[in-house]
Symmetry: C2
Subunit: 396 residues, 2 copies
């Protein structure tokens, strides 16, 4: 059978996830990967799980294993209320919905919002997983220019003034891939612009609790809740393999997202939602966060120190106060995709920056580095190695 | 903000899931529900879970809580090989993919296969969850006529001859909503027709292990593997709240479904996949199946007995050899949607048959009954009550 003829047109928008392809290559033994974006297993509350599981089974009995409501397991929705309060969102449990990872929110939002050809505004660069979620719904993108302080409000205003934009997708804090954070004053300005054009913001906030220095900044959604969908996840603070994401949105979005999710997966794993609810309400999450920060802070400090020490002239990089990534910009003549091949031959890998742009001609001289999975010692060695590779290239 | 204007056109195809709406109504205390479609919590291996969890944590350590491959957790894919062999499917673990419930397969298949306006052939009536999964991708349906032996091959051939059909969706064994099973001879004929027109079959098989009488019949996919996507789930044999589905498909479908799933939810819960793998490989599944059968068989026998005893003339019903449902057809003048309202006032509920038809003008005089959630005693009482309500209606 010519199965290819059976494929829908939208498959043409589904590219290989290049990061997953790189991760396959770098899973070989001896390879040092700065390419991943996954939490360290040391950050998981491994020793607490048996107790959590026992509590869940005693407390919820067979309910923990049964079909559950599409909107989410109510004890988890209740448990998330104080967590959202810290982000400036004063909501009831009913206003919170649970999805299968924040990827689950992004896909379902794409489904209920995007018509073929609709304009979606994204930071440039932006999160690859968001593009993977939206692409099958065949939008067009406007990449909004960013600087060291993230999205530049003037460019957002220009985009909204001149175009009919379906929504704006942002990661304002410790962005993936850049690690950049939009400062408070700029958040106020972005909120004002979104309000002025009565636009819709999708604010993705997976990293804000991973802050290693500086002070917490409130979400943009807290300034304009009626124009915002706020998304977060427990993947970085509990365990990503449990696939628990959540969001807060205006009623009409929750209504349609519930209907969409019924068709997508009926509901998110009840057992995993119950484990997450107990993890939060038992106070374990609050104890775990400082431990995760203490685990990651020295890694990030070492990477910044090593970049400073080993990278040749002509390179700059972000200096994030948290998160999981550092963004490096090299001389404009360098094609990081090619450099990565040389690096992989030398048992080291990163992600070339161009994969994070909706317009594939950008970011060719950039790369993303991750520091969560390896020790400070290995981080220093690998950045030294990386610096030496760059120094050995012609024209550098 | 006029958020309504932000919605995609495809939301117009997302109806309320009427069963979920009915289930909300019938969750009131004192209500007897024949409307559900969920496994009895008594069928869950509740007492085994602590051991499974312990084994998973010892064996897989932090891997059980980490991000995993989109295709599925390899030990589970391996564990499913012998289960698929029983259905006549001789496949390697690599040919098996895991999804978030079989709903997750249906949604992702819709995404990679259906263009707006494409024709999808379904049994008439068919599974509501499949329509919920496909509808957002805006197909058109051809409902293929069924009789007591399920889909009628001649009508399928006519549909394939005269139309360009994207795929045929069938539940050949203990169908939802009718409980009907397509006999072996008719399966051979359906396979021949699909092969002749080089069509694509999506065979959904969630219930075949729930057989209370008669002999096992092999899947249609086993006759034409290269023209088939075979879908099943652990929801009826392990625990539905864990959301573990799986499928077998030709390579190109698996390739695109993997890319689609990266955008939908990255992967299915690693922890739940690991629990399922241990449940199967430790031999617990094989021990659990006879227990589930012994739990459901008397319920189904009682429902068939009570229908025979209490239903007025003019009613017929399916006599399934397994599964979770019985399909009742009443006199043509009866509108079961209206009758259900009277029943709900009398603290009893079913699902009106019309919701299971892609063409909403059909099945108005039909209803679906479920027997898994209540005891034989309550089944007898409720069918007696139902019979009395029907007898009390004018014109009956």
């Amino acid at each position: 059978m010519l199965l290819k003829e059976k494929l829908s047109d939208r498959t043409q928008n589904m590219g290989e996830n290049i990061i997953r392809e790189i991760l396959k290559v770098v899973s070989k033994p001896g390879m040092i990967s700065l390419a991943g974006g996954i939490p360290s297993p040391e950050s998981f509350p491994t020793e607490i799980f048996p107790e959590l599981f026992k509590t869940v089974q005693e407390k919820y009995k067979t309910e923990a294993f049964q079909y559950g409501p599409t909107e989410g397991f109510f004890p988890l929705r209740e448990a998330l209320v104080p967590i959202l309060k810290k982000e400036g969102l004063n909501v009831s449990p009913q206003e919170i919905m649970i999805t299968s990872g924040s990827q689950g929110t992004l896909d379902a939002l794409g489904k209920i919002l995007i018509n073929k050809g609709d304009l979606v505004a994204v930071e440039s660069p932006t999160y690859l997983g968001a593009l993977s979620a939206f692409n099958p719904y065949e939008p067009q993108y406007i990449g909004i220019k960013s600087d060291d302080d993230g999205l530049i409000p003037e460019y957002l205003e220009e985009a909204l003034k001149n175009n009919s934009v379906k929504f704006i997708y942002l990661i304002p804090t410790f962005q993936n891939p850049t690690g950049r954070t939009i400062p408070q004053s700029r958040r106020v300005e972005i909120a004002r612009i979104i309000k002025k054009y009565d636009a819709l913001l999708i604010e993705d906030n997976p990293y804000s609790e991973l802050r290693y220095s500086g002070s917490h900044i409130k979400t943009i959604s807290s300034l304009i809740p009626e124009n915002s969908v706020y998304i977060s996840t427990l993947s970085k603070l509990f365990a990503p393999g449990l696939r628990i994401g959540y969001f807060v949105a205006p009623e009409i979005i929750r209504h349609w997202l519930t209907l969409a999710k019924q068709g997508i997966d009926l509901h998110t794993s009840t057992l995993n939602q119950a484990l997450a609810a107990e993890y939060i309400t038992s106070g374990y999450l609050e104890k775990q966060i400082p431990q995760i920060i203490e685990l990651y802070r020295p890694k990030q400090e070492m990477m910044l120190y090593a970049l400073n020490k080993y990278m040749p002239n002509g390179f700059t990089w972000s200096k994030p106060e948290g998160g999981m990534f550092i963004w490096v910009e090299g001389p404009t003549h360098l094609e990081m995709k090619e450099v990565n091949k040389i690096c992989i031959e030398n048992s080291i890998a990163f992600v070339p920056g161009e994969v994070f742009f909706s317009n594939p001609d950008q970011g060719k001289n950039c790369l993303r580095l991750n520091f969560t999975m390896i020790s400070p010692e290995i981080i220093e060695n690998s950045i030294k190695k990386l610096g030496n590779i760059f120094k050995s290239l012609p024209n550098s």
